[in-house]
């Protein structure tokens, strides 16, 4: 890591594993439940949060010495909302198709507690460069869980990945379905996302004893 000091690099790598926003801090669960029924939506959401959290952390960090502490939460909320609306408008004008896919998630980004959490816990107390790294790191840590959950839910629930029928056609009974395999419709319902997140937490903690709380 020639580019980043060891401390800075940890800002990116920590949220991936030992300080993952979803599995350790248990933030951003709501959107993880809502949108992971298909892989594409998970990826789009991960990228959007990456942008908003990276940019938002920098903005808040630059403003950190002039924000009145009494109204700091409102100021944070306004910054997220402004960024999200600008992104939405720009996409609608220049990438209309993509903005239609994103449609429902735009609002969800504003309410994502990871974003407010990182503003409050990190950007308000650190410089812009470190805040930027922290934002990117947390968004990646969030995104990786979303993509894992989305992958399994779409594969087991619909038998597809990114819309491609990887297991054959359930109606024509080709591929795996010829042997009596059935899609598990339960995978598409929100509770399964929670169970998947639970399984990831279980695997993670069983491999890293330091994470287990008594």
């Amino acid at each position: 890591m020639g580019l980043l000091s060891k401390k800075d690099a940890a800002l990116i790598t920590d949220p991936f594993a030992d300080n993952n926003p979803i599995t350790i801090q248990v933030l951003g669960i709501c959107s993880a439940l809502a949108i992971t029924a298909e892989l594409k939506a998970s990826i789009v959401m991960a990228v959007s949060v990456l942008f908003v959290l990276g940019a938002g952390n920098v903005v808040i960090s630059l403003m950190r010495n002039i924000i009145p502490s009494k109204i700091r939460i409102i100021v944070q909320l306004i910054v997220v909302a402004t960024l999200v609306i600008i992104v939405d408008q720009v996409l609608k004008a220049f990438a209309y198709e993509l903005s239609k896919t994103l449609g429902a998630f735009i609002g969800l980004i504003i309410t994502n507690c990871i974003i407010m959490g990182r503003f409050e816990a990190f950007a308000l107390a650190n410089g812009p460069w470190r805040s930027f790294l922290d934002g990117i790191g947390n968004a990646l840590g969030y995104g990786v869980i979303l993509i894992i959950v989305g992958f399994f839910r779409e594969l087991l629930g619909s038998g597809t990945l990114l819309g491609f029928k990887v297991l054959g056609d359930p109606i024509e009974k080709t591929g795996l379905y010829a042997f009596g395999y059935e899609n598990n419709g339960f995978m598409l319902l929100a509770p399964m996302a929670l169970i998947f997140v639970g399984i990831i937490i279980w695997i993670q903690r069983s491999r890293n004893v330091a994470l287990i709380e008594d």
Binding site: I71, Q89, F94, A104, R153, E154
Partner: protein
């Protein structure tokens, strides 16, 4: 140990300044991008109408519209007439596709007579009548375009939604769902029955086209009911027009 930023005056001034800056920024973006966004929406309407009558670039599994730069020519080529039906009065209007169905629905509730747009398309010697529909899904609006022949047998359908759940209700705009409508009858024994999104029709391959039912999407009950409802209530309004087609 009071900081400068803790005073009430500073807080109020900061809030006021923030509102001004953010407001100006958003207003700038909104007005600068509005023409482009509206143009995108207009093009999308044309693409949707063409899609419903089978003019599209679909591959085996996914729905693909006629491309953005070609759509104006293609629209002019295939859509021969645009009608506005108001009561028993039928007028031609080359801008009928710009009629906002949502506004018409609201104004009809206030007692005004609804303007119903209908697009007449010609392809391979066949005539298509394409009607816009709009209704409610689970979370927000759903809408679409249904292409029919003169007997109100569906020739193609396009559905879209504002915020249905990804992987569940959002699947109404997937080919496997939209394609099921092709060939399906809207009439039953001479009267209008619509098409019901059914969970119990025992016909997942949709081989029976005269049962007025299409197989539902698992996990999308309320969105499916919304599709049934908008087909029933919106397309019913066109029945009298289709009856005049037969008598002529």
């Amino acid at each position: 140990m009071s900081k400068r930023t803790d005073s009430n005056l500073y807080t109020v001034l900061f809030a006021a300044g923030m509102v001004l800056v953010v407001g100006a920024l958003l207003a700038f973006f909104a007005s600068a991008l509005k023409p482009t966004i509206n143009e995108n929406k207009r093009i999308e309407k044309q693409q949707n109408i063409l899609y419903a009558m089978g003019v599209n670039e679909n591959d085996e599994t996914s729905a693909i519209f006629v491309s953005k730069d070609k759509v104006a020519d293609v629209f002019a080529k295939y859509i021969t007439k645009q009608l506005v039906i108001q009561g028993s009065k039928v007028t031609e209007d080359a801008k009928a596709y710009l009629i906002d169905v949502k506004k018409e629905q609201t104004s009809a509730k206030e007692g005004n007579e609804r303007r119903l747009p209908l697009f007449v398309g010609e392809k391979d010697g066949k005539t298509f009548y394409i009607a816009p529909i709009r209704g409610k899904g689970l979370w927000d609006a759903i809408w679409g375009y249904v292409a029919m022949d003169a007997d109100m047998i569906v020739q193609g359908a396009y559905f879209d939604h504002k915020g249905e759940t990804a992987g569940l209700g959002a699947n109404i705009k997937q080919r496997f769902f939209m394609d099921d409508f092709i060939g399906e009858h809207l009439m039953k024994d001479g009267s209008f029955k619509g098409i019901t999104i059914s969970k119990s029709n025992n016909d997942p391959k949709n081989e029976d086209k005269t049962d007025n039912e299409v197989d539902a999407i698992a996990g999308a009950t309320i969105t499916g009911d919304g599709v049934s409802a908008m087909i029933k209530s919106e397309l019913k309004k066109y029945v009298s027009f289709f009856n005049t087609l037969k008598t002529n």
